[in-house]
């Protein structure tokens, strides 16, 4: 008996009990659909995190202060004053894999304009700071090199700060605001970036020359971080090596001494946060996989019922020349058909459900082709696995007993 004939027999057997076949498939349909939808949601959240992180800057490589020994006392990273502007110069001169480098200085405080005030953070950078951080100027202009050299009291204002200080009526460009009681002139308005993945408002900030923030506002000599752009994503690793060497040279660190700074790249951030989202995806996937398993057990159950119900049919098939193998294959094909047809419906439902969820919630949903392919393979495997025992039971029936079964 060939596969075509067996498939015809299996199909006609399923068609004899359409509703029952549909109900049995339903378990698989729901299982596959939920696996696909859950993985799509998980993958979507991962993609959104990746987008958010890459919007933080172009091939960003950040140097941050590391732990330092001060008189035999180990200091925390954040309190470190390890970075200075000469480190920026050293990196600029020694690193060919870097296109742009800028110091970053930041300080929080209350900003006041007229009768309004608002707590925000004042970031200081060099003239290329906006390019590195991928921020655009919406109105007005960026500060110039002369203004950096002169530590001019000018700044660009984020949309959130502008809204809170001036409302929507007044143009903030040209106004003077006071940050920590120091008057600063607003020369530009920044393009909105919205919230990042971690719920931080990226528009709640002021940006000015680092010299201004460092000397006039915070009155410090160190800088908080060094931001740089690698020439390409692939060059990031090379850039890290170069920056490490330049920094160690600049800090005159001896061989074997631990770095007194840390380097973070976008790729690292992506992988850190992706791994969180991977755990989420795995969890969601595992929960849906359980429903798929339950669907498989449903198939096994109905196949057992079917074998018992059709004992006489099996006896008849054996008496007309069906071998045990033919009977086994017939029932196996039946259960595989149930699970695979169910799987196909489930894939369709899963894709539809994913896009519906995506539209309703606004989450970025990405249906993974791998998930679809995997579901299909898993369905076939479920059909074979859960169909095997009932089919074996059928194939091992004694034709004499089967024919006389009441």
């Amino acid at each position: 008996m060939n596969i075509t004939n067996l498939s015809k027999i299996a199909l006609s057997a399923l068609m004899r009990n359409k509703f029952r076949a549909f109900l049995t498939m339903l378990g698989i349909i729901i299982g596959v659909a939920s696996v696909i939808a859950m993985l799509a949601i998980g993958e979507g959240s991962k993609k959104s995190i990746q987008q958010q992180i890459s919007s933080m800057g172009s091939n960003l490589v950040m140097v941050m202060p590391g732990s330092q020994m001060m008189g035999g006392v180990q200091q925390g990273n954040a309190s470190s004053k390890a970075l200075e502007t000469r480190d920026v110069t050293a990196i600029r001169e020694a690193c060919p894999s870097i296109t742009a480098v800028s110091p970053e200085v930041r300080g929080g405080g209350q900003v006041v304009a007229g009768g309004n005030n608002w707590p925000t953070t004042f970031y200081g950078g060099d003239v290329n700071y906006l390019d590195i951080k991928k921020v655009e100027v919406k109105a007005g202009r960026m500060f110039t090199e002369q203004e950096v050299n002169a530590a001019a009291k000018v700044c660009l204002i984020g949309q959130t700060v502008a809204d809170n200080l001036f409302g929507t009526e007044v143009d903030p460009v040209g106004q003077t605001i006071r940050f920590r009681n120091i008057p600063v002139k607003v020369i530009g308005l920044l393009e909105e970036k919205g919230e990042n993945t971690f719920g931080m408002d990226q528009d709640d900030l002021l940006i000015g020359p680092y010299t201004t923030v460092q000397k006039r506002i915070l009155a410090i000599t160190h800088i908080n971080a060094i931001l740089s752009s690698a020439v390409s994503e692939e060059a990031t690793t090379q850039a890290v090596t170069e920056i490490t060497a330049a920094m160690r040279a600049s800090h005159r660190q001896a061989e074997g001494e631990e770095d007194d700074f840390q380097i973070r790249t976008q790729a690292e951030l992506v992988s850190t946060f992706s791994s969180i989202s991977d755990i989420l995806t795995t969890l969601l996937g595992a929960i849906s996989a359980i429903s798929l398993l339950v669907g498989g057990i449903g198939i096994m159950n109905i196949m057992y019922v079917s074998v018992t119900e059709r004992t006489r049919e099996i006896g008849l098939r054996m008496s007309t020349g069906g071998r045990g193998r033919d009977i086994l294959m017939q029932f196996l094909i039946e259960s595989v058909m149930l699970s695979v047809i169910g799987g196909i419906f489930g894939i369709v439902l899963g894709v539809v459900a994913s896009s519906v969820i995506g539209n309703l919630t606004g989450w970025p949903i990405a249906v993974m082709p791998e998930a679809v392919a995997l579901s299909f393979v898993v369905c076939t495997a479920i059909g074979i696995f859960f169909g095997w025992y009932p089919a074996r039971k059928a194939a091992n029936l004694n034709p004499i007993d089967a024919l006389r079964f009441e």
């Binding site: 027999i9 006609s12 008849l316 045990g324």
Partner: protein, 247 residues
């Protein structure tokens, strides 16, 4: 002398039920030739069902030899037995054993599905021919539940014929039917026999056995009597003697 289709020699069959051994068949010798219409008779427990199972290659004898159309059945594997059943045997059961919700035509096609050398088109043609031979050419697409008992049994007979077997084994084939329908079915068997089909018919009704050409009586696992039927009755003639149905 016609060709010997079934040749059984010193055949025994024992069943082990717990610690007790039941001798279902004890040293049976039986020979059936081409064109025979044999009735196997006996009360329940006489061994006639066991005999039919062995004749039908559904069961193997404990000892002794069984040659079916020249093939020694005793040493065949399960799969070889299945193939033998497919090619050389046709079964007709008391309770028809048709597949429910499956048309008469598809029911008749069933044995051909297990014969790889038969192509789909030939399968359909042969099934149509077999249904025509049992007088159901106009009922091919009916489901079993749309057919009367007699018509269902005709479908079953068509199914047993479709593979052109060397012998048809009927197990109480008229047991579920009324007198008139029984006669109709026996008339069909007689027609088939007249065309040269070899038929083995298990029954406990002497009247039905009277339509065959030879009777073999079983008792306690042995053949106690076998004789040719002199002037077997014609089922078709018997039909005319039945009172005309009034409804």
């Amino acid at each position: 002398m016609k060709k010997e289709i079934i040749s059984i020699h010193q055949l025994r069959k024992d069943f082990h039920v717990g610690e007790v051994t039941v001798h279902a068949l004890r040293s049976v010798d039986l020979s059936i030739r081409e064109g025979d219409f044999v009735a196997i008779m006996g009360t329940s427990g006489s061994g006639k069902s066991t005999m039919l199972n062995i004749l039908g290659c559904l069961d193997k004898p404990t000892s002794g030899s069984y040659l079916l159309d020249g093939t020694d059945v005793s040493n065949l594997s399960k799969n070889e037995l299945a193939r033998l059943r497919n090619l050389k045997l046709g079964f007709v059961f008391q309770s028809y054993n048709l597949l429910p919700r499956t048309s008469a035509l598809e029911n008749v096609e069933l044995p051909l599905f297990y014969n790889n050398s038969v192509k789909p088109r030939e399968r359909r043609e042969r099934a149509m021919a077999a249904l025509g031979a049992v007088g159901l050419a106009d009922r091919v697409h009916h489901m079993p539940n749309q057919l009367s008992g007699g018509q269902q049994q005709r479908v079953a007979i068509a199914r047993s014929l479709v593979n052109d077997p060397v012998v048809i084994l009927a197990d109480e084939a008229t047991g579920n039917l009324d007198t008139r329908t029984s006669y109709e079915i026996m008339a069909l068997f007689q027609d088939l026999n007249a065309k040269g089909k070899t038929i083995v018919f298990v029954t406990h009704e002497p009247e039905i056995a009277g339509f065959t050409t030879r009777n073999v009586h079983f008792r306690d696992g042995s053949i106690v009597k076998q004789h040719a039927v002199e002037n077997p009755g014609s089922a078709r003639e018997m039909l005319t003697t039945l009172p005309v149905e009034t409804d």
